[in-house]
Each structure stands twice: as C-alpha cells, then as structure tokens.
C-alpha cells in the first residue's frame, strides 16, 4: 500500500519561543526547528503498516526553505521519499490555507492512506486533518490510537474522553494519530546515511499550479490582531500552620470555588 505521511517542522518546544513583532507569528528563525513530535508517531505507524502489508511511505512537508529537518528525520526513520513544498508566499498560512496547499500536493501523488499527527505543538489547532479530508473528499478517522488495515478497509480506535470508538472506513482515507498509538523508532546510523540518497521532490507554488492569493497571509481567514507576552507566574501562597492551617486551606479552596 502507498502511504503519505504529512510532517511539520516546529520550533523546539523546550526553547523560549517569541512572536515576530511585525507579523505576530512565531519567530521560527529564532529557535531550532525539529519534527513535530506527534508526526513521529504518524511516521512510525506508516512504517509499521508497510512492514506488515508491503508498499512505500512518502513523506510530505511544507515550510520555509530551511525547514528540512522534519522530512529528513522521517526519511532517516525509514520513509522512502519526500516531497517538500516551500515558497515565500506560503508564509503566514493558517490551517485553512495550509490544508489547501497540502491537498494540492496530495493531488499529485498516488496513495491509499494519508497519516498525520493529531496536532502540531506550535499552534495546536488540530484542524488540518479534518480540513484536508474534506478537501480531498475522503473519510477522516481522527485521534487514532490503533490502526488496522484489512484489504481496502481501515479500522481505527478513535480516542475519546470516555475511552475509544471503533471507526471504520474504506480506503483511501485520512487518519490522524495520537501518541498512544506506538513508540516511534530511533533512526539508525545506517538509516541516516541512507536517507541522504533518498529522492526529495522540491515544489513551489508555481510548480504546483497554486495561486499565491489562496495561501499565505493573503489566503488565510484567521488573523492575529494583537498579542501580549504572558505575565510571569505569580508566586504561590504559603500557609504556615499556626493551629488554623486547616481552615486557611479550606478558605483558599472555597475562594477558588473548589469546595
């Protein structure tokens, strides 16, 4: 089976992030970029499915010119090839615009299954999987904690607040995965060396035949109007027990409406 995995390069979650004061978007140049953690689970799931059923894994990524670490990591883990969409006009794309561009890329590829992480650690909207499925006219199976493929059918456990639902669909389909689904492998040194020889197709908007007005700042419907730095966290209250510690604590909890 042919699987496409979508991966995004995000700022290191451990680093201090800041917004670019002009665009109010995350300043991606200021911190190290790496593969969105949840996308590693998507790559792992694709690799496991291909190990079981045969086929190939194509990784697709979109981002600034230097945002190559994410798809490289996927190739190092074992994906067969990559498609990298990069164009200055893509900067500022919101989830809607991103899904438009990615749907267009997917239109150039053959696939039975599209897998991606449930959310990216930078914006955390969890919108792209559903938007993409809608644009492609494919069934969406989101928040998957288990994936099984049987012939032309796919069944997933869809994580919910109360447990999971079992959701089935016919292939091709779009699946978003959660961290519970597997344990992503580390690349091996051989995988790292082999990755450098794997084919990477570079695309821009012109090559894709996509109008610059439909993506980027121009094509995005969500706008950030204002942003302020979060105030430093206030110090906690320390209650010294002088015989009245219990009532002090209850008073505190009551003031927060916990009791």
């Amino acid at each position: 089976m042919k699987i496409v995995v979508l991966v995004k390069q995000v700022p290191d979650t451990a680093a201090d992030k800041r917004l670019d004061p002009d665009t109010l978007a995350v300043d991606r140049g200021a911190v190290d970029g790496l593969i969105n953690e949840m996308d590693e689970f998507a790559v792992e799931e694709a690799l496991q499915l291909v190990e079981k059923h045969g086929g190939e894994v194509t990784v697709v990524s979109m981002g600034p010119d230097d945002a190559t670490d994410a798809y490289k990591k996927a190739l190092q883990m074992g994906a067969d090839k990559a498609v990298f969409l990069s164009d200055p006009a893509l900067a500022g794309s919101d989830a809607l615009a991103t899904s438009e561009a990615l749907a267009k890329v997917l239109g150039t590829l053959e696939y039975d299954l599209v897998i991606l992480g449930s959310e990216a650690s930078d914006a955390r909207t969890s919108l792209v999987p559903a938007l993409l499925a809608e644009r492609l006219g494919l069934p969406q199976l989101t928040f998957a904690s288990k994936v099984e493929v049987d012939g032309s059918a796919i069944r997933v456990n869809r994580l919910t607040d109360y447990g999971h639902d079992v959701v089935e669909a016919a292939l091709p389909a779009v699946v978003s995965v959660v961290e519970k689904i597997n344990e992503p492998r580390y690349p091996s040194f051989k995988g790292i060396m082999a990755a450098k020889k794997k084919p990477v197709e570079a695309l821009d908007l012109a090559g894709l035949g996509l109008d610059a007005g439909s993506v980027g700042w121009a094509g995005s419907r969500s706008k950030v109007l204002d942003a302020t730095v979060a105030p430093p966290r206030a110090k906690g209250t320390i209650v010294t027990d002088e015989g009245n510690g219990g009532s002090e604590l209850v008073g505190f909890l009551a003031s927060k409406k916990f009791v």
């Binding site: 580390y186 690349p187 091996s188 040194f189 450098k196």
Partner: protein, 383 residues
C-alpha cells in the same frame, strides 16, 4: 549541538550521528543511569537499542556492517554516551576493543564469517587480557591455549573482565608458546563454549551497572579457525588494541568531566550566598574555570591522537598522553564538582558524588596512569 561541537565533527553525516547519540543519551540513558548504578543492574537492553542504532560498530568497515567512521568521530560518540551514563560509554569502548583483533588481524574469511554479527548491534563483546596475577605485567600471563588436533584447549582465569558473563563473545589472549610476550596468541571465544564461566561479579565503588567479573576457562575447546593473527602475535595485537582502547577511556573521562562541569556550573549559577550566585565568587568561579579548561584540553588531546590514527600514523604516545591527561582531569574535575556543590554534592541527591566514584576507575583501566607515564617516558627516550 553547539557550534564548537559542530566544528569538531567533520561531516554532515557525523553531525547527524552525533545528534542521534545526543537524543539517545537524553531520552534513553540519562533517565535511567542513577537508578541502575544504585541497583548495579546491567542495562543489556540499552546496548541492544544503541546497537540497533548502529553505535556498536562505528569505526569498522561498512563492508562488514560497520559505520566506517574515523576515530575522531567514534570517540566523540563515546564521550557523549559517557556524559549521560559512563557504563554505556565505556561498554561501547570495550565492545569496540573486543572486535579490534578480528577486524585488524583476522583473515578475510574470518572477518566475513564473524565480524558482521559482532558489530551488527545484537551482540556484545568482552576483552580478556588481565589475570589475577598479571595485570599491568600482561606479557607474563599464564592462561594456556594448548593445541590439540584442530582445536586449542584453554585453561586459566582472566580478571577484571568488563561484560564478564554478559558478553556474547570474548577476545582472549592466552599462551601458546614460550614464556614472555612472544608466546601469546589471540582467540575469539563464543560465550556458549563449554567450560567457560563467569565468577560472581565484583562489588565496585562505582560504575556498578557495568558488570565486571573473572572469567574462568576450564578446558574450553576452541576450533583453530578461531585463532586470530599469527601464532605468537597476541601480545602485539593486545597492545595495539589497547592503544585504541585508551582513546576510548580518554573520551569516557571527558564525558564524565563534562557532566560534572555542567552540573556544577548550573548549581553555581543558581545557588546564592552573600547576596550573589556563588559562580560570581572568585573562589568558585575560578574552580569552574579550571574544570572547563581541563575538560576542553582533554577533548583536544584525544582528538589529536585520533587524527593521527585516522591518518594511519603512529599514535601510541599520544594515546597514552590523552588517557593520562583526560582521566586525571576527570578525577580532579569531579572532586571539584563535589566541592562546588558543598554538602549537597556529598549526597546522592546530586550526581556529582557518583561522577567522582566513576572517574576513579578510569585512572586504573586500560593501563594504569602509571603505565601510561611509562609508555610516554619510553617513547621520549626512543625519540
């Protein structure tokens, strides 16, 4: 990876390898090191994981499944592993050492037959040179390998064997001929060989998660095709391997020193006395400065030796200098790290007391530092 490290790694490939090592160290080694040390638990699964990642055959030929990496890169990987967990960094060095005889002195046929499995990641090796009565004086070892038809029969006891009882294969130096250095030969012994057993592991002051034990050979029959190199060439093979092993220990020492320096620096920036962080008190700041200087000089020393080796030039003297400097530097740096942390440093709540105990062993293994000085002095005399 900081800019200095990037500059020390010659290729993009080596940088990617180092990043992988960093990730493995941070995610898989660091969280487990303290508990495994306290419990003296050998982390066989960690070696399997890093083996599958390709870290157990880095300096050996790609043709046999190795990584074809120069020593200057391989050693930085060892350093990075040791920074997170000495037992693992040192284990990689010992494993690499145990593959050395076959890789460098084996015939093509022997190499093709055994080397891919040995360096492929699933197996772990051990190196049997020392004996209870012959440590530094290895040329007079007494373990015998007696020819019997197309086999050798090995009898004797080997001591201080890292991975003793855990390893899948043992590179063994045993006497096949006359007394002295010329009567020794090298053998590759399978751990399943009948008559081979491990004694109870030693109870050590540090590096407790790395198993060290005596290996007892009682009539162990080894097919002649497992004899490596020429008959009587064993001592030369052992010494050449030790030159490489010394570089591994030097890299381990720099890793431990770096870990101690990092812990002490972070503490000194945060701990305040007399109204300011203690790093701003000259007495502490200078202590840290000396620790940093010793550690970085150590790294430069092992890399200088490694570059000679990578160019195919003699490097024994530089290896001895690197081993001597780096391990003495690690000892002093870990002692100083405990001092910087004060009372806290003497407790097991912080890792620096462990680093101190770990550094000590590095002044002893792969040739005591007194032996290193002897090697250097002899080289100076020869000119």
């Amino acid at each position: 990876m900081d800019a200095i490290r990037r500059a020390l790694l010659p290729t993009e490939e080596a940088q990617a390898l180092f990043e992988l090592t960093e990730e493995l160290g941070r995610e898989e080694l660091a969280p487990r090191a303290a508990a495994a040390e306290a419990a003296a638990e050998f982390p066989r699964d960690v070696f399997r994981l890093i083996g599958r990642s390709g870290l157990l055959g880095l300096p050996y030929d790609e043709e046999y499944g190795g990584g074809s990496q120069p020593y200057a890169v391989y050693l930085q990987v060892v350093e990075e592993l040791a920074r997170h967990w000495l037992a693992v960094g040192l284990g990689v060095s010992v494993h690499t050492l145990s593959c050395h005889a076959l890789a460098e002195y084996g015939t093509d046929k022997q190499r093709k037959y055994w080397l891919p499995d040995m360096i492929g990641g699933e197996q772990l090796g051990a190196y049997c040179l020392s004996e209870p009565e012959h440590g530094s004086d290895a040329a007079n070892l007494t373990t015998r390998a007696a020819a019997d038809g197309d086999e050798y029969v090995i009898d004797g006891t080997k001591a201080w064997i890292t991975h003793g009882g855990q390893a899948d294969f043992y590179t063994v130096l045993a006497r096949t001929g006359e007394p002295g250095a010329r009567g020794i030969s090298a053998f590759l012994v399978d751990s399943a060989a009948a008559g081979l057993s491990a004694a109870e592991p030693e109870h050590k002051m540090g590096m407790r998660s790395s198993t060290t034990s005596q290996m007892v050979f009682e009539g162990v029959r080894v097919p002649a095709e497992r004899q490596i190199g020429e008959l009587g060439q064993g001592f030369e093979i052992a010494m050449r391997a030790l030159d490489c092993g010394r570089l591994g220990i030097a890299a381990c020492a720099v890793g431990v020193a770096q870990a101690a320096l990092d812990t002490a620096t972070a503490y000194a920036k945060q701990r305040e006395q007399f109204g300011k962080p203690i790093i701003r008190h000259e007495a502490v700041g200078f202590l840290l400065a000396d620790m940093a200087a010793r550690t970085e000089v150590g790294r430069a020393a092992y890399l200088a030796a490694a570059r000679l080796r990578d160019l195919g030039l003699p490097f024994a003297r530089q290896a001895a200098i690197a081993k001597l400097h780096c391990t003495d530097a690690a000892m002093q740096t870990t002692i100083d790290a405990v001092q910087v942390l004060g009372g806290a440093g003497y407790t097991t709540d912080f890792p620096v007391e462990r680093y101190l105990r770990e550094a000590k062993v590095l002044q002893i293994v792969e040739g005591t530092n007194q032996i290193q000085r002897r090697v250097i002095a002899k080289a100076l005399e020869r000119g």
